[in-house]
């Protein structure tokens, strides 16, 4: 899920990801992912060093960072979360439907087409079409293709497997379905907790950083003996300022990269120690 430093997606692929769940890439995506980081880096550089030329360069670099790293990661995450939600909904509703003994798997699959949306819905339509056309011998291939599309979700794969067994053998295996459903729901809860934790940390970091920025900004006003001229002479256009700026830049880059790597990773079943 975290694609920082891994695979790069082209803009067309990203557009496809976003379109998969009914939203094209909109203006706000560009603002949040590209213009915001560019502006932040630009403002910070200008406040610290007051070299207009450097500010322009750093703004552009910030924008490039946003475009290369944040933009694809954000959109991929949007897709992954939506797709997971759809699968969870599918599993829960399907299990409910299977409790009623007179509903066959095929009927339930057909009913579910209306309840799901986006990319998942298309996959479901494809599956039901294949099931309607083919003989029992080809069921396995159709189900296999369906679950392979969401290969990373092991539990979903297992669920589809059980569904296939029920459909082929006609055995009443609701207990298995129920257990798998509760497993998937557990994963969902854990993921939610994890995402909450991450957002809390992000808020904390944002607030802290804002305070520091305010402190730097305060130095621009006249608080005796600090004046704007003094700030520029003794910090901005002074080796101390340059040194501190480089240190700050390197430090931010390093922590940011690690931070984003975890922030964009929602997987609770794998960890790199």
């Amino acid at each position: 899920m975290a694609n920082i430093g891994k695979k790069r997606y082209s803009i067309d692929e990203l557009r496809a990801f976003k379109l998969a769940y009914g939203r094209s890439i909109q203006r706000e995506d560009y603002v949040i992912n590209i213009i915001l980081p560019a502006a932040l880096v630009g403002i910070m550089t200008h406040l610290l060093l007051h070299y207009l030329f450097l500010t322009i360069i750093m703004t552009i670099l910030g924008g490039v960072y946003g475009y290369m790293v944040l933009f694809p990661a954000n959109i991929k995450r949007f897709y992954d979360r939506r797709s997971f939600e759809q699968r969870n909904k599918f599993i829960n509703t399907m299990t409910q439907l299977q409790m009623a003994s007179n509903v066959s798997v095929f009927m339930a699959l057909n009913d579910l087409i209306d309840l799901t949306e986006g990319d998942f819905k298309e996959q479901l339509i494809k599956l039901t079409a294949q099931l309607a056309d083919s003989s029992e011998a080809n069921y396995h291939e159709a189900f296999q293709e369906f679950s392979l599309h969401y290969e990373k979700d092991v539990i979903f794969g297992q669920y589809v497997d059980i569904l296939e067994t029920i459909m082929v053998e006609g055995s009443e295996n609701v207990e298995s379905l129920k257990k798998t459903t509760s497993f998937h729901n557990d994963i969902k809860n854990f993921q939610k907790r994890f995402i909450d934790n991450k957002n809390r940390t992000l808020r904390f970091a944002k607030t802290g950083h804002l305070l520091i920025m305010a402190a730097v900004l305060a130095c621009h006003f006249k608080i005796e003996p600090i004046t704007f001229e003094n700030y520029v002479t003794y910090f901005s256009h002074h080796p101390i300022g340059w040194f501190v700026y480089v240190l700050y830049l390197v430090g931010t880059m390093m922590t940011m990269t690690n931070f984003m790597k975890i922030y964009f990773d929602d997987d609770v079943l794998e960890v790199e120690l």
Partner: protein, 242 residues
């Protein structure tokens, strides 16, 4: 294996071979790694000796230190890869337990259940272990040792042993619903524990990074304070003219 390889094998740390095997390297690859370690170590050592003959003591000491560090570094890299693999193995096991649990109510044989789960396991080692277990229960379905070995291959906890043993006995008494229920509870607990741990590890990691992010920002304040100190110093030192 020729004599050189046997010699290289002897220079390894005790658990080196085992760890490299666990992360999916063959013995030959492990010997290659060890050979590289030795060669790089010798290279640094030679440089150190060269500096020693030139009477550059500091540089010599530095390279002697580097020799040890470089030699150990490769080992600790293997060690951390091993730890990582071991941990993911444990997770793989808990997912396995939970997946087994979902099938227990169906009247499938254990062999059929394992076959369904085989492709869902995440790590290569766990897949290998499971297919080995399947092979052994196909030969003799009452092979108790096979279950035990599988448990110790996949996990270090007693829970795993317990689970596999219960699974083995559940096969003996297929009508006993209590065993199945018990197995289910064990599996649920197992998965809960591992996933909570992963969430905790990852959350702790991101919090740490968030803190570091703030600390880095404090550099700015320190820098500004330093600048102010210099400013003050300059202004006091400058004689007032006029």
């Amino acid at each position: 294996m020729n004599k050189v390889q046997i010699f290289i094998k002897k220079t390894m740390e005790k658990d080196f071979l085992e760890m490299t095997k666990f992360i999916g390297l063959t013995t030959e690859e492990a010997i290659n790694i060890q050979f590289q370690r030795i060669m790089v170590g010798i290279l640094y050592f030679a440089i150190a000796v060269f500096f020693l003959t030139q009477q550059l003591w500091t540089a010599a000491a530095l390279f002697f230190g580097m020799t040890v560090i470089v030699y150990r570094l490769r080992y600790s890299r293997v060690q951390s890869a091993y730890k990582n693999a071991r941990y993911n193995q444990q997770i793989s096991y808990s997912i396995f337990a939970r997946l087994v649990d979902t099938y227990l109510d169906s009247r499938l044989s254990l062999y059929a259940i394992f076959q369904k789960i085989l492709s869902r396991l995440k790590t290569e080692q766990s897949r290998e272990s499971l297919s080995r277990l399947m092979g052994r229960i196909q030969d003799d379905s009452e092979d108790k040792e096979a279950f035990k070995e599988f448990a110790s291959e996949l996990s270090v906890t007693d829970n795993a042993q317990n689970f596999m043993m219960t699974l083995y006995y559940s096969q003996m008494a297929p009508e006993d619903k209590n065993v199945v229920k018990e197995l289910g509870q064990m599996a649920v607990k197992e998965v809960f524990d591992s996933i909570s741990e992963i969430v905790e590890i990852k959350s702790a990691r991101i919090e740490k990074n968030g803190r570091h992010f703030l600390m880095v920002s404090f550099i700015l304040l320190v820098g500004i304070l330093m600048a102010m100190a210099i400013m003050y110093f300059n202004q006091v030192m400058t004689p007032i003219t006029g």
